[in-house]
């Protein structure tokens, strides 16, 4: 799944008044039958989460410290930090991949997310045709990143793509192979990813802007603030819960980026990303489970930073 969906903290919006948990039913008041029913309702989903998400996460870290061919469990040999040493020192695609992940994050954060915010601000002003514009910008959000890769491949193609026709280079030696040339393909892929990300950010901010109390803006304008001041000093800070969601989504999307580079060229030749390297080491002729798991563990540790920030903000008042 390349899609990150997040909810904003309920506690931040005051939905959980301090008195509410006390009014919730105490578990101990339930009859025995009810306890069994409730227990099953909790147990089954929790078991699924443990077996298919959390235990594999732990195993992934474990596998990064061993050497294994994936056949019999008795073949597992301890490897210490050898897999990590290999990744950091002797594995050529690792550092480019890390740079590309950082570039992905910076591009989404500096170009795609502000573009989505700008579209949301413009479309929030009751202008004519706002629903049509919204539908257009929002459309790519519903498409898979794989399909986006294919659609943009048609647009970027060296000899048959629209872009080179428009640039007048099609059919000449100057025609750029946008997805093939390792000097430009990461940028071409980032523009395709922006096509989707900006619409996603737009729709979240539109919902956020609708939720801003209009009297705040009126008060700001009465105090003589202009529109830019009103937005940055009043409206934007009030949308703090959404801002956090957007920051976390942007970081996580850039760590999860995989589908689009995989469909273009399996994440090689200028499009290396950590997530793609994990898979390259798990499938195909190499099958180096230890190295793949070391890469996965690195990805996990980096991902835990935004996840923990998000969780601590979301659940601070409840815990």
């Amino acid at each position: 799944m390349a899609d990150t969906t997040l909810g904003a903290p309920a506690s931040a919006r005051g939905l959980l008044s301090p008195g509410r948990p006390r009014r919730r039913r105490r578990y101990s008041l339930l009859s025995r039958r009810d306890k069994i029913v409730l227990g099953a309702m909790v147990f089954v989903p929790t078991l699924i989460q443990l077996v298919l998400i959390w235990i594999p996460t732990v195993i992934s870290v474990f596998l990064s410290f061993v050497r294994w061919n994936g056949l019999a469990f008795s073949d597992i040999r301890p490897a210490g930090l050898a897999n990590y040493a290999y990744v950091f020192r002797d594995y050529p695609p690792f550092w480019p991949a890390l740079q590309h992940n950082v570039l992905w994050l910076v591009f989404l954060a500096v170009i795609a997310t502000p573009l989505g915010l700008l579209l949301a601000i413009l479309l929030d002003q009751n202008i004519r045709g706002t629903r049509i514009y919204q539908s257009i910008f929002f459309g790519p959000v519903m498409l898979s990143l794989v399909l986006i890769g294919v659609i943009w491949q048609l647009f970027y193609s060296q000899n048959n793509g629209l872009l080179n026709f428009l640039l007048g280079t099609s059919g000449t030696p100057r025609a750029v192979d946008w997805f093939g040339d390792p000097k430009v393909n990461i940028w071409a892929a980032l523009i395709a990813a922006t096509w989707r990300h900006a619409g996603y950010v737009m729709i979240l901010y539109l919902a956020g802007l609708k939720g801003v109390d209009p009297s705040l803006r009126e008060a700001a304008s009465l105090d003589g603030a202009n529109a830019v001041q009103t937005f940055f000093r009043v409206v934007f800070p009030v949308m703090r819960p959404i801002n956090i969601v957007i920051v976390v989504i942007t970081i996580i999307e850039s760590l999860r980026a995989f589908d689009i580079v995989y469909i273009i060229n399996r994440g090689t030749n200028g499009l290396e990303l950590i997530s793609a390297l994990v898979i390259q080491n798990l499938v195909g002729e190499g099958q180096v489970i230890g190295v793949g798991s070391a890469l996965a563990a690195i990805l996990l540790v980096v991902s835990l930073v935004p996840i923990i920030i998000y969780l601590s903000r979301t659940f601070k008042k409840e815990a």
């Binding site: 909810g7 309702m41 298919l52 998400i53 096509w195 956020g208 529109a227 969780l311």
Partner: protein, 306 residues
């Protein structure tokens, strides 16, 4: 609103800000110009794919892709449908999407009900665990899940691989596990906001936990379930990674992952590739036209209402 708009018009004095607007009386040409340019840019990639798909290969070879010459018809769609095996691909997608969405909503609503309507020792801890699980990059879990399923031996009468690889069960189970976290989080917030008195009254009347869940809370949660259901149909239909990892035989692949093979198969024929891409958009397009509001509601449910 008028006040805000008039106020905004003064911002046009600020340089370098694209929000140059006229007052409420004057149409805001600047904004419209910007939005129209952006909208056209936004539509170009998809429009180009549709344009290419509608033209026969012979005509594009003769006149070039960047031309208007030749005829326009749906022949590429028919050819792509048959050669790409789209009937099978769509069937496989349905086999994965339908159970995954139903199971996700069932498990998530039960879990959300238990954590939001009752207070017990670990309810917040479990909710945090569920929410965090949804945010992990799937690639982190790839090796362990692959090996777990590979070493889970089954009789060949059940699975032609002798284990859980190359089965829909593997994809459905992992899709469900991945999506349950997010849905539990959203539904628990939604259920928390429902008045406590309703289940309280039912409890006094002797309604058990299951009746409270099924007859009282679930009907009230219907809007959230509809929104999440729409969202999850699209997300799971769009899922590329899990079938890529677990399913080896091409005849079992769903549409989104099948695109990977299709791209290789049609590489020399852009018209067919474009038609194939447009065919995979169709289910999304139907939901987009029919249920866009639900989809947007699903996306923003957590973000706007808390």
């Amino acid at each position: 609103m008028s006040q805000v708009s008039t106020q905004r018009s003064t911002a046009s004095a600020k340089p370098g800000k694209p929000t140059k607007v006229g007052s409420m009386q004057r149409p805001r040409y600047g904004i419209h110009l910007f939005l129209i340019v952006m909208a056209v840019l936004w539509l170009i990639p998809l429009g180009w794919a549709v344009f290419t798909a509608l033209r026969p290969k012979a005509d594009t070879d003769k006149f070039g892709y960047f031309s208007l010459g030749g005829s326009f018809n749906f022949q590429n769609f028919v050819t792509a449908w048959n050669q790409g095996g789209f009937a099978t691909l769509f069937t496989n997608s349905a086999i994965i999407v339908v159970p995954s969405v139903i199971l996700t909503l069932a498990f998530a609503s039960m879990m959300a009900f238990a954590v939001s309507r009752f207070s017990w020792k670990f309810n917040v801890t479990l909710l945090i665990m569920f929410t965090a699980g949804n945010l992990l990059p799937p690639q982190v879990l790839a090796a362990p899940l692959f090996e777990m399923f590979k070493h889970f031996e089954l009789p060949y009468s059940v699975s032609d691989s002798g284990n859980l690889l190359n089965t829909y069960f593997a994809v459905i189970a992992v899709d469900t596990a991945f999506q349950v976290g997010f849905c539990t989080f959203v539904l628990s917030n939604y259920m928390k906001a429902l008045p406590q008195d309703m289940t309280e009254a039912a409890f006094v009347d002797g309604a058990g936990v299951w009746r409270q869940y099924w007859s009282i809370i679930m009907p009230l949660t219907r809007p959230a379930l509809a929104a999440l259901g729409t969202l999850e149909i699209i997300w799971i239909y769009n899922d590329f990674f899990w079938p890529l990892l677990f399913i080896q035989s091409g005849s079992k692949l769903p549409v989104t992952t099948g695109l990977n093979n299709l791209q290789g198969q049609f590489l020399s024929n852009y018209n067919l590739l474009a038609a194939g891409a447009i065919i995979t958009v169709i289910p999304t397009l139907i939901i987009y036209l029919a249920l866009q509001r639900q989809f947007v509601a699903g996306l923003t449910l957590g973000a706007s209402k808390g």
